[in-house]
Symmetry: C2
Subunit: 429 residues, 2 copies
């Protein structure tokens, strides 16, 4: 847990770079030295490419050309996102030897912001799972307890940031894949509104929900990274009346949850009234749509080379392929109904608060816990916001059973800044 970037904020790093106390090359060296192979967070490191980028960033800063708060900062990229010249492995034997020709759009934006791409982080195979322990590269380990899963699917991004290897990592979130590893690993994970960060060059899981997101130590760092990936704050549309108070928080009751986790997170919102949403109903919509869209992506691979999948992934895909079309059609209609219901709630409240996960990180390889199969359990509190396309932020909320838990904040589309404001006001014990 003693990686180079532990305890350093992006603001600290930016000051150090501009005061001359730090250099991009020095930060990169710190990152590379912090990589702990036992955690299995990185699947590819690019010391040469990163070295060249760090040198260039250093020259630019020395010449007074300042690209902003990510300039010279080492960043890790999930291995389903293309970085030109590096393998994009998807955590799958299907893509062994596959090298990306061009940068994904979000990677181009990171480079334009001066970030130094350190390498690629491990992903649950094809991002199709929340445990992070199913991949041709092997499981990613949780820095808080190496026998436990990091959570996924942006497993390596979560572990790399939590262990202080990098101060920032990019992931993707289709049903919780940025927020889950952030919560299990005790850091912050942010999924913006659907479509807010362009998804070009990101391998699809379920196109209706796939969202690029960021993982960093804190909400404040997520805000900095998010601005770099979307332009100035002023460019982010906000439907919010700026003259109104922005403190109205509702507690969304998690219906199936470890009571200790609920207590720990609920304590952060003592004044928030409780509200109910049909979270299991929305999860059923999530599942029907995700399964249909995921099988659409993989149908040929399932037919032609099923043996190249990890067995749990193949099993999930085969079931997903049998999702009936009429269920998908109904899920689309139900989604509209849920969207209207939650929009009504977001007329009365600015923030919906709930735990990110109903449990703490299970042991690697465990597939069931007290709440049943981990597959539905892990996304039960996160996937509703993908279904509705709403921005959601997971922030550290202390520990339970000695393991990190996350508090999740949700708001209206385009009102991302409310989440960061609310997170900064939270008093975590």
């Amino acid at each position: 847990m003693g990686g180079f970037f532990r305890g350093r904020t992006l603001a600290d790093i930016a000051r150090g770079l501009r005061s001359g106390d730090e250099s991009p090359a020095g930060l990169l060296a710190g990152a590379l030295e912090s990589v702990d192979p036992d955690l299995n967070a990185f699947v590819t490191l690019d010391p040469e490419g990163a070295g060249a980028a760090a040198a260039r960033a250093g020259e630019e800063l020395a010449a007074g050309y300042d690209r902003g708060p990510l300039h010279g900062v080492p960043v890790a990229v999930k291995d389903i996102i293309d970085v030109a010249g590096l393998p994009t492995g998807m955590g799958s034997a299907h893509f062994e030897g596959h090298v990306a020709e061009a940068d994904a759009l979000c990677v181009t934006m990171l480079r334009d912001a001066g970030a130094v791409i350190v390498g690629k982080t491990g992903t649950h195979e094809f991002a199709y799972g929340g445990t992070g322990d199913v991949a041709v590269n092997g499981p990613v380990r949780n820095p808080h307890d190496r026998e436990r899963m990091s959570g996924g699917s942006s497993s390596g991004s979560g572990a790399a940031v939590a262990a202080g290897m990098v101060p920032l990592a990019i992931g993707t979130d289709t049903g919780g894949s940025v927020r889950i590893p952030a919560a299990f690993c005790g850091i912050a994970g942010f999924k913006p509104s659907y479509g807010a960060i362009p998804a070009g060059g990101v391998f699809p899981l379920a196109v209706s929900f796939d969202t690029v997101g960021v993982i960093a130590a804190s909400a404040a760092d997520c805000r900095i990274a998010y601005r770099a990936l979307t332009g100035p704050a002023e460019a982010v549309p906000s439907p919010v009346d700026e003259s109104a108070p922005h403190g109205r928080v509702a507690w969304i009751e998690p219906l199936e949850i470890d009571p200790d986790v609920e207590r720990a997170v609920r304590a952060l919102f003592p004044d928030a009234p409780s509200e109910r949403i049909d979270l299991p109903g929305i999860r059923a919509v999530f599942r029907a749509v995700q399964d249909a869209e995921a099988y659409d992506v993989h149908a040929e691979r399932v037919a032609e080379a099923p043996g190249l999948f990890q067995p749990p992934t193949l099993e999930r895909l085969e079931r997903a392929g049998r999702t009936p079309a009429w269920r998908y059609l109904r899920a689309l209609r139900e989604r509209e109904r849920f969207a209207a219901e939650v929009a009504g709630l977001l007329d009365r409240y600015d923030i919906l608060a709930l735990p990110t996960l109903p449990i703490t990180a299970p042991k690697i390889g465990e597939t069931e816990g007290p709440l049943g199969s981990h597959v539905p359990t892990l996304v039960s509190l996160t996937c509703p916001w993908n279904v509705l396309g709403l921005p959601a932020l997971s922030v550290p909320a202390g520990t339970v059973h000695g393991l990190p838990v996350g508090a999740q904040l949700v708001t209206r589309r385009g009102a991302e800044s409310l989440l960061f404001d609310a997170a900064e006001n939270l008093a975590v014990a």
Copy 2:
């Protein structure tokens, strides 16, 4: 075949009404006297409601209030379209005793045009089939050969017009359900662009394709009825450059067809160059989308009262319910590809011509013929235009084996008038 309206055009009828040689009440009496129960075209007759409407129409005309060419004309309505106060039976035991509370929008438009609604015509159960011999009301018989099917699903509308019981009937066309009975029965059937006639109050089969259409003795009569259902001709949008010649006709090769049928229809277009479209590929798109949407409509009935369906309908629905969602997603994408391909063809030609059906009317109860199962065979040449939302007109093209065959004309969306113009120039032997 000697019904009251045999050989009478809507124009003739309109002249007779205005000269005083005919009256709405007299036309209605002629219609009711022509009803031949053995053909089973009507499932409900409404002599009282129709009588009142005819009396009103007569008074209006006598007072000089002229609603146009359908004023006082008896019209039949397919039994999946609501007529206030009459049963809407859908050809199914599921809707026994169900009485419509309000008129469908197209029925309101007919009444506004002065039409006299005579009654409801038999439909293939839930409009889910092209043979017209599967319904709780029993099979509709072909006036040209009572042992043969009328074709469906607007089975009774086709038989009623062909037998001269009414000069006009309303049907619906999801994959060919107006054009198929028109062609099998030797009359004209017209399906406008998707959405051109409002579908409110029509029981759904597959919402992406469901289209209200008209059946009449000739293309000229279909044009008159279509204008009454969409407003003045000027209101129909037409992307066509009116200064360009409108004669460019392509022959679309039917890939699987009785060669005698092909010869008969091809002879009407001696100068048209042959073109190929992937008709089987478009039919596969049709099937995936129709099956998904149809099962969505009927899922609860299949689960709760399967025994109320006719056995072939239940069998089709159960198969439809297993259509995988990923196939549906791919079908939607393939539809875009086919739409672009056919749009390219319609840049070079004004009219695509092909047979309406690849065979002549089979015997009632027959489920397979030389081309295989009738289910895919009957829609093979009609459903592609539903998939693409294009207007299509079937007109009589003589006889083969002593049975009627139809020529089908297709054009661009909104260019419906081109079809009627082209049909009037056809020289049928």
